[in-house]
C-alpha cells in the first residue's frame, strides 16, 4: 500500500481533532510554564520547549505507524503485550523514582513510563484475544482470561504506586461488554458505586428506604407477563443494605484520614466551615485552587498569558494533571466548553469509526482506544472541576509529559492505521 493511499484513506476528521487538542494543549502548557526569563518558544530547556520536541517526535511516530503493515499490530500484539509487561516488571529493579512513584525508566534524554506503553499493548492484546475465533465471551473461562489480560498490568502498576494509572485499565472492561459480557455485571458495579456514594452522603437508613421504594416501584410497574424473580431481587436488596452498612464500617475504620478527607471533599460531606477550611488548605488544596482558577475565568476568560492565578502558580501541577484549569482561567467557559466538545466529538467519531470496522480485531482495539481516552478525560477533567475525587492521571494530548503524549498518539494512530484498512476482512 502506498503512502498516498494511506493519506487518502485516513480519517482526517479524527486527525483534525487530534491536532486541535494537541495545539490547544501546548498553548496552555506554554502559558502555565511561561517565565519572563525564557519567552522563546523553541528553548528546549523549558517545559513547553520540551513538549514541542515531543510533539515533533509524535509526528515522526505517526509517520512510522502509518508506514507499517496493517497486519503488524495484530500479529505482534501478544509480543508487544509481553514486552510491556516485562518492562513493567523491570521497574521493580531499574525504575526511577519521581515524586514517590517508581514509574519511569531513565533513558537520559527523557523518562519512559512503561505504564503508558502498556495501555496501548493491553488494548491490542485484549482485542486480539477477544477477536480470536475460539474465544466465546459468554464462557466463564474466557471471561476470566479476558479479565486477566487487564488485571496483570494493573497488578504490576498498583505497587509503583500509581493507582491512577492502574484504574485506567479497568476501562477496558467496556471492550468486553461491547463483545457480549452480560450487562448485569455493569449494572451490579454501577449499583455498588451508587450505594457507596449514597451511604456516605445520606446514611444507611435512607439507602435502605430508597431500595425498598425501588423494589415496590418495580413491582407496580412490571408487566403482567414478566416473571419476577422475587427471591433474588429481595436478597439482592438485603445484600445492598449489608454492603451499605459495611461501607460505613470501612469508611470509618479501614480508610485513613486522608482518604476520608478526599471523599468528604468530593461529596461535600464536611459542613463545619473550620474543618472545611482546613481541608482546603491541605488535602483539598489542589481541587480548591483549580476550581477557583476556573471559576475566576468567567465566560470569556482572562486572556492568553493573563491568567493571574496561573501566573502566581497557585494551582500545583498545573502544566500536567491540572492543565485544564489554565484553559478555564485564561479562556473562560468558551475555552473549557470548546475542549469538552472537542473531546466529546473525538470520542464519538472514534465510536463511529470502531463500529464501521468489518474486522473484529480493529473494532475491539478501537473500543479499547475509546475506553482508555474516555477514562482519562473523564477522571482528569472531573477531578479538575471538582466533580470527582482527586486521582492523578493526565489529560490525553493535553497534559505536559513526553511519554504520555507519545503513547496517546501511538494508541490513537494505530487505530487510525487499522481504520485505513477497514474494508479488508479477516487477516
Amino acid at each position: 500500500m502506498s503512502g498516498r493511499s494511506v493519506l487518502k484513506r485516513i480519517d482526517w476528521l479524527t486527525v483534525l481533532f487530534y491536532i486541535l487538542l494537541v495545539a490547544i494543549g501546548w498553548v496552555n502548557i506554554y502559558s502555565s510554564t511561561f517565565t519572563e526569563a525564557e519567552p522563546s518558544i523553541f528553548n528546549f530547556s523549558t517545559l513547553h520547549g520540551k513538549q514541542l520536541f515531543f510533539i515533533g517526535a509524535s509526528a515522526v511516530s505517526i509517520v512510522i505507524i502509518l508506514a507499517l503493515e496493517t497486519n503488524f499490530f495484530e500479529r505482534f500484539s501478544s509480543v508487544l503485550y509481553i514486552v510491556s509487561m516485562v518492562l513493567l516488571l523491570g521497574l521493580f529493579v531499574f525504575g526511577k523514582t519521581v515524586a514517590g512513584a517508581t514509574s519511569w525508566y531513565d533513558l537520559g534524554f527523557f523518562n519512559l513510563q512503561p505504564s503508558e506503553l502498556a495501555k496501548a499493548t493491553t488494548a491490542l492484546a485484549l482485542a486480539k484475544y477477544l477477536s480470536d475465533i475460539q474465544t466465546d465471551i459468554k464462557r466463564r473461562k474466557d471471561q476470566l482470561y479476558a479479565f486477566l489480560i487487564i488485571l496483570i498490568p494493573t497488578i504490576l502498576i498498583v505497587p509503583q504506586p500509581d493507582p491512577g494509572s492502574a484504574l485506567v485499565f479497568f476501562a477496558l472492561v467496556f471492550v468486553i461488554f461491547r463483545e457480549g459480557l452480560p450487562l448485569y455485571y455493569l449494572g451490579i458495579g454501577f449499583l455498588l458505586v451508587s450505594v457507596f456514594v449514597a451511604t456516605l452522603m445520606f446514611g444507611t437508613i435512607w439507602v435502605g428506604i430508597a431500595l425498598a421504594l425501588l423494589i415496590v416501584l418495580f413491582f407496580l410497574l412490571k408487566k403482567k407477563s414478566f416473571k419476577l424473580p422475587v427471591l433474588p431481587v429481595v436478597s439482592f436488596a438485603i445484600l445492598a443494605v449489608l454492603f451499605s452498612l459495611s461501607v460505613n464500617f470501612v469508611f470509618n475504620n479501614v480508610f485513613e484520614q486522608r482518604h476520608r478527607d478526599r471523599f468528604s471533599l468530593w461529596l461535600r460531606l464536611e459542613k463545619d466551615p473550620e474543618k472545611l477550611e482546613q481541608i482546603r488548605k491541605t488535602i483539598g488544596y489542589n481541587t480548591y485552587q483549580s476550581e477557583k482558577a476556573i471559576e475566576s475565568g468567567g465566560f470569556f476568560g482572562k486572556g492568553f498569558l493573563e491568567g493571574t492565578r496561573t501566573k502566581g502558580d497557585f494551582v500545583p501541577e498545573q502544566h500536567t494533571d491540572y492543565i485544564f484549569s489554565t484553559v478555564g482561567e485564561e479562556w473562560g467557559f468558551v475555552g473549557t466548553a470548546t475542549v469538552v466538545i472537542l473531546f466529546t466529538l473525538l470520542l464519538l467519531r472514534l465510536v463511529y469509526l470502531a463500529e464501521r470496522q468489518k474486522n473484529a480485531f480493529s473494532r475491539m482495539y478501537g473500543y479499547g482506544v475509546i475506553s482508555i481516552l474516555l477514562i482519562h478525560y473523564f477522571i482528569n477533567i472531573g477531578m479538575v472541576i471538582g466533580v470527582l475525587p482527586t486521582i492523578g492521571i493526565p489529560l490525553p494530548f493535553f497534559s505536559y509529559g513526553g511519554s504520555g503524549l507519545l503513547f496517546f498518539t501511538l494508541l490513537l494512530f494505530i487505530f487510525l492505521k487499522l481504520d485505513t484498512n477497514r474494508l479488508k476482512e479477516g487477516i
Partner: protein, 622 residues
C-alpha cells in the same frame, strides 16, 4: 443497546462537564470575585484616626506621624551595609537578623525593618533612601496623648490579633484597633474607613495600573472626632489626688449622666502604651499583680458600699411606709441581734431619720431594715421587694454604659440566701449587715456615684456614659438621654437629702466643709478582710464618701472609694470635697488640705499584709 452504551456515556459525561463548568464559570462567577484574586494587589489608604477631646473641647488624644523603614527582600540589591546601618541607627547584626526575618516571612511582600523612626531620623534618611533599592519609608500615624491622665478612660490601640481578624472581616493583619476604653468602644467612629485601591498586575508582577479603571476603588473615610464627657482638668486633678492611694473616684453630672471623671488608682501614663516601648511597658504594667495598674478600680472594683448604702435603706423604708421621718430607734452604742451585740460609733441615744443619717447610726438602720422585712408575711417577699428597690438604683447589675469593661456588683436575691442558708432558713437578722452596707451587698465606685446621682435627681438617673459629641453633634442615644426612674417616690428623697446635707453641716462629714458650697454627702467606713497565711485578717477600713453638690441644683455627684483609708471623711471625704471645689469653683481655697491630700500616700497600709509582721489597723498616723 450495546452499541449505543458507550456513545451515551460519552454524551452524558460531556453534558455533566458542561453543566459543572457553566455553574462555575457563568453562575458562580462574579466580577467582584477578582478582588480575592491573589494577583490583584490592594493598596490601602488609611484615614487619620479621629481625635478625642474632653467636654470643654480640650484635646486629649491626637495623632503623631511615625515612619517605618520597610523592606522588600527580593528587591534588595547589593548595598553598603555599614553605612546604611549608621543611617538607620541600628547595629549590623540586628540589621542582618531583621532582614533574614523579613525574607523568611516573604521575599516579595514588604516587612517592617525598623519601626517608628523619629522625625529627625526620618528627615536624615529621606533624601538618601533612593540609593537603597528594596527599602522605602512608610508613614504611619501614632496616637499622641495630650494628657498624662485618663489612661483607663481613653484606653489604647494595638495591632489586631487572630481573634479580631476572625470577628471582623474589615481588618487586615497589621492594622490597629482600639483595645480598651473609649478607643475600643468607639473604634468604628474613630477609625473611619480605609480606602482601597485595586491594582492589576501583569505576568511580570508589575503594576499595570488600576484594576478595571478603578471603578471598585474606594476613598478613605475620615475617622470622626469625638468629645467625651470627661473634664480634663478634673480628671488630671483627681489622679494627682490619688497619688499613692488605691481606689476609684467617679464624678457624674446628675442632670445628664455624663461621667466627669473616672479615676482609678494607681494608674499609668497613657503614652507608655504607644510606640516602640509599648510591649515592654505593657508587660511591666500587666505583671504588677499587687497594685494592678491596668485594673480599672473605678468601674471594676466591687466592694462593700458601707454607710452610703444606709441612705437607700432609708428610702426603701419610707417608700414601703414602715417608718416616717419621726420614727425613732434607740442606740445603746450598738444594737442586738439575738444575744450578740453589734457596735455603733454614733454615741448612742434616741435616733430619728435625720440624726440616724448624719450620725450614721448603725442601730437606727438595723431597726429600719428589720421593719422593712417585718412588713411582709414572708422573708422571701420582703427580699424580693427590697431587691427590686435596690436594683432600680442601678445596683446589682451592669449599668449598660459605654465603658469597655465593668462589674455588676451584688444585690443578693432570695435565691442567693436560699443557696447560702437553705430554703426558709434565714431571716432579716441573718442579713442585718446589709442594712449598713456591709454583708453581701457590693458595688463599684461608678455604681455608688450613679446611686448618688439618683438621689441628687430625687428619683431618677441617666445611664452614666462617656460619649458627648461625635463630629460636633450631640449624641441622641436613647439609652443615655432618657431618664431611668427608681421605684422610690419623689417626696421621700427630701428628708434623706436633708440628712445627707446635715452630714456635711454637723455630722460625720463636717470636717470636709468648703466655704460657700452646700454639699449633701454620706461617709462610709468599710470593714474589710484579707487572708494572710490562711488566716482571715482584718485590714484598715476602706474610706468611702459619696456626695453631690450643690444640694438644690446638683451639678456634680461623686463617689470616692479609698482602699484602707480608714474612716470615711479621712481620705474619701476630703478628696471628694476637693474634687467638688475644683469642679464648681475651679480653684482650691483650702491649700493646706490640698497639699496634704496630694502628698499623703497609703503605701504603708498596702505594705502591711505583705510585711510578714504583726500590724495594727485603723491607726491615726498622719
Amino acid at each position: 443497546m450495546r452499541k449505543i452504551l458507550l456513545s451515551s456515556i460519552i454524551i452524558i459525561i460531556g453534558i455533566t462537564f458542561l453543566g459543572r463548568l457553566g455553574y462555575l464559570q457563568i453562575f458562580s462567577f462574579s466580577p467582584d470575585q477578582a478582588l480575592e484574586d491573589p494577583a490583584i494587589k490592594r493598596i490601602y489608604d488609611y484615614p487619620e484616626r479621629g481625635y478625642i477631646y474632653d467636654r470643654n473641647g480640650k484635646l486629649l488624644v491626637g495623632n503623631d506621624p511615625a515612619y517605618d523603614v520597610m523592606v522588600i527582600p527580593r528587591e534588595v540589591r547589593a548595598l553598603d551595609t555599614l553605612e546604611f546601618c549608621n543611617l538607620l541607627g541600628v547595629g549590623k547584626e540586628k540589621f542582618i537578623k531583621e532582614l533574614r526575618k523579613a525574607r523568611i516571612y516573604s521575599p516579595r511582600l514588604p516587612s517592617v525593618l525598623v519601626p517608628q523612626l523619629s522625625k529627625e531620623d526620618y528627615a536624615r534618611l529621606q533624601e538618601k533612601m533612593r540609593h537603597y533599592q528594596g527599602f522605602y519609608i512608610q508613614k504611619r500615624s501614632l496616637r499622641y496623648y495630650d494628657t498624662p491622665s485618663a489612661a483607663n478612660v481613653l484606653g489604647y490601640i494595638s495591632e489586631v490579633n487572630e481573634r479580631d481578624l476572625a470577628k471582623n472581616p474589615y481588618y487586615v493583619q497589621g492594622e490597629l484597633t482600639g483595645r480598651s476604653g473609649v478607643e475600643k468602644v468607639y473604634e468604628d467612629i474613630l477609625r473611619g474607613r480605609k480606602g482601597v485601591q485595586y491594582l492589576q498586575k501583569d505576568r511580570f508582577n508589575r503594576d499595570i495600573g488600576p484594576y478595571k479603571d478603578g471603578i471598585l476603588d474606594t476613598l478613605p473615610e475620615q475617622g470622626k472626632e469625638i468629645h467625651i464627657t470627661i473634664d480634663k482638668q478634673l480628671q488630671e486633678y483627681g489622679e494627682r489626688l490619688m497619688y499613692g492611694k488605691r481606689g476609684g473616684i467617679v464624678a457624674l453630672e446628675p442632670a445628664t449622666g455624663e461621667i466627669l471623671s473616672m479615676i482609678s488608682g494607681p494608674t499609668y501614663d497613657p503614652s507608655l502604651l504607644v510606640g516602640r516601648e509599648r510591649s515592654a511597658n505593657y508587660s511591666k504594667l500587666h505583671y504588677d499583680s499587687i497594685s494592678k495598674p491596668l485594673f480599672d478600680r473605678s468601674i471594676s472594683a466591687e466592694g462593700s458600699p458601707g454607710s452610703p448604702f444606709k441612705t437607700l435603706n432609708a428610702l426603701v423604708a419610707l417608700q414601703e411606709g414602715v417608718i416616717t421621718t419621726g420614727t425613732t430607734f434607740s442606740c445603746y452604742n450598738g444594737f442586738y441581734v439575738g444575744r450578740t451585740k453589734r457596735g455603733c460609733h454614733c454615741g448612742g441615744g434616741t435616733r430619728n431619720l435625720n440624726v440616724g443619717i448624719y450620725k450614721s447610726c448603725n442601730a437606727y438602720f438595723a431597726g429600719t431594715f428589720r421593719k422593712i422585712y417585718e412588713k411582709f408575711p414572708t422573708t422571701d417577699e420582703a427580699q424580693d421587694a427590697w431587691e427590686k428597690h435596690m436594683r432600680s438604683f442601678g445596683l446589682g447589675g451592669y449599668l449598660g454604659s459605654d465603658l469597655h469593661t465593668g462589674r455588676p456588683g451584688l444585690i443578693p436575691s432570695k435565691k442567693y440566701y436560699d443557696k447560702w442558708y437553705g430554703d426558709n432558713r434565714w431571716s432579716s437578722s441573718y442579713i442585718i449587715s446589709n442594712s449598713i452596707g456591709q454583708g453581701e451587698v457590693a458595688a463599684t465606685p461608678i455604681q455608688l456615684a450613679n446611686m448618688t446621682a439618683a438621689i441628687a435627681n430625687r428619683g431618677h438617673f441617666f445611664t452614666p456614659h462617656l460619649l458627648k459629641k461625635v463630629d460636633g453633634e450631640d449624641i441622641s442615644n436613647p439609652e443615655f438621654v432618657k431618664p431611668k426612674h427608681t421605684t422610690i417616690d419623689k417626696e421621700h428623697f427630701e428628708p434623706v437629702i436633708k440628712g445627707m446635707a446635715d452630714v456635711y453641716n454637723y455630722g460625720t462629714g463636717r470636717w470636709v466643709q468648703i466655704p460657700d458650697i452646700e454639699i449633701a454627702g454620706k461617709t462610709g467606713t468599710v470593714e474589710n478582710y484579707t487572708v494572710i497565711d490562711s488566716v482571715k485578717t482584718q485590714l484598715t477600713d476602706h474610706s468611702v464618701f459619696v456626695a453631690f453638690a450643690p444640694v438644690d441644683k446638683p451639678k456634680i455627684a461623686i463617689a470616692v472609694y479609698i482602699e484602707n483609708g480608714y474612716y470615711g471623711s479621712r481620705y474619701a471625704g476630703h478628696i471628694a470635697s476637693l474634687m467638688i471645689e475644683k469642679y464648681l469653683k475651679g480653684e482650691i481655697t483650702r491649700k493646706d488640705l490640698e497639699k496634704r491630700m496630694l502628698e499623703k500616700t497609703l503605701e504603708h497600709e498596702y505594705a502591711k499584709p505583705y510585711s510578714g509582721e504583726e500590724f495594727k489597723i485603723n491607726e491615726y498616723v498622719w
